[in-house]
Symmetry: C2
Subunit: 303 residues, 2 copies
């Protein structure tokens, strides 16, 4: 059985780093691949690399004007009034990798890191069975892999990964911004090779096993830190929750510690699994963590 | 026995945060103290607070033009040609806290955090016996405390802490830039109170015990990452060394992993104790880590 209609075989893959300019894992991996392109070549498709936000990389900041990884909503890509650096960059990237017949890619691997203890997390670009089969394969290869699915549909996603039909974000952590962590660097490099090998096997109709289901963490909602009436930060992740991404959060468990020493507990009704806990870039977005549910989802057959 | 000539009693103490604008522990602690000043009041001295680099805090960056904590060398403070934001700020802080009779402080606590796994490190402003007695007291109160001494003499130090006769930097980690870690926040708050209580006891001639010696980590040298011929980064902290601040480094131990996969080992002749391993702000300073030696030093009697 093929996991992909061969008329839609993978012809071009993009490995993207530096979508956020202070997440060094992807930046230095892409630079490594650019110096040694043979490592990412496979016989059945072309692999291209991209440093997505060079101006942000140059100043070691997440972005210049606006988060590039929130600029790929089709409405924004078609909005001529959006002319800031990242909006312009997003349009150029979407045109090159998503729209131009000569250069468009079928699969994007977008490399990120987080100050949250995300371990080795994959965020598929969509829940298309092809993406989910790949996720199941990667989970089988490496039990440390966790798969997280967002609420957004593929069509309206503002993420860079959404401009290709297939792909995923790789999110590793905890890593501070502007540093390299060799263990996570190697882990990211390894999973890129596993993905490339899988895509090559798909093209060669040589995928040995397929899965009928997959365990994912489905995002439910994001919650903010305690704030004062004027919106200033009024507390922190509770010390018993700090670094505990993917660990079950039960009703009544400590969630935040206010600056005055008060513990705020989780008041939901069911067990959830928080992720992106204390991500530095999300303070300004009003996100202290994202709550997820574990779900065993069926993978539809590919017809 | 008094640990301080009472003619030199502590009259004014400054608690400083935000010397680096992206090290939030000190910033939010100072803001907390500014809202609740009673917490840091003691009967025998005045406590003042300062956010040292408000422009850097506003943009959540270490600095605007230049590292403020390298601007306090007396030569620079007296150099009228240095007119950048941090040089100007340093002169204003030195004038207020170090030179103006009405406002100058006897003791500075400068609050920092590091992306390196520094635990709870104290860097005394000088090896004056008074500072060392305090360090010994803090080590006795909390076995997690480590004391690190630099190479620079007090007189030529460019650090903010050097503008007062006594004091120390508190350096906690690992904390990513631009986040709060509640455990380290509480730990820093606790040691501030222990310091204030000790200074109050000194003023009241009520210090119960003194120490004749102290175990310190003495800085020997800082070493840089592997670099290419053009100076670009060519490797990372070795995964076996990442996060292992204060753990002994023996000749032959792995130190770096180059991007091409080569392990670089430590080629020194004696056991050293690296600190500030993978501090984000030190990549630009050419510092991958600072090597220290453990030393048991004698504390001279105060006459």
């Amino acid at each position: 059985m093929s996991v992909l209609d061969m008329s839609k075989s993978i012809r071009r893959v993009a490995i993207v780093g530096g979508t956020h300019g202070n997440e060094w894992t992807g930046i230095y991996l892409v630079e490594k691949f650019q110096k040694s392109p043979k490592a990412i070549q496979r016989s059945s498709f072309e692999t291209v690399t991209l440093l997505a936000n060079p101006a942000a990389i140059a100043i070691n900041q997440r972005y210049v004007d606006r988060d590039l990884n929130r600029c790929f909503d089709p409405q924004d890509l078609n909005n001529a009034t959006l002319t800031g650096y990242e909006n312009t960059q997003a349009k150029a990237i979407a045109a090159a990798l998503g729209q131009n017949d000569a250069s468009k890619v079928d699969f994007i691997i977008d490399l990120h890191s987080s100050t949250a203890n995300m371990g080795l997390t994959l965020l598929p670009a969509s829940q298309h069975p092809f993406n989910l089969q790949l996720m199941a394969h990667l989970c089988a290869q490496n039990p440390d892999v966790r798969v997280c699915c967002g609420i957004q549909s593929h069509q309206s996603s503002p993420m860079l990964r959404s401009i290709a039909p297939f792909g995923c974000t790789v999110e590793v952590g905890a890593i501070a911004q502007g540093v390299l962590d060799a263990y996570r660097f190697q882990q990211t490099e390894q999973i890129i090779h596993t993905i490339l090998d899988y895509l090559d096997a798909v093209n060669n109709n040589n995928v040995q096993a397929t899965s009928s289901s997959l365990m994912i963490y489905q995002s439910i909602e994001s919650i903010d830190y305690p704030r004062t009436k004027t919106g200033a930060l009024d507390g922190m992740i509770h010390p018993q929750r700090q670094g505990k991404d993917y660990e079950p959060l039960e009703p009544g468990d400590p969630l935040f510690l206010t600056f005055s020493g008060e513990t705020i507990v989780y008041q939901g009704r069911s067990i959830v699994f928080p992720i992106f806990i204390n991500e530095a870039a999300y303070y300004e977005k009003g996100i202290a963590m994202t709550l997820t549910e574990q779900q065993q989802i069926k993978i539809a057959e590919i017809v």
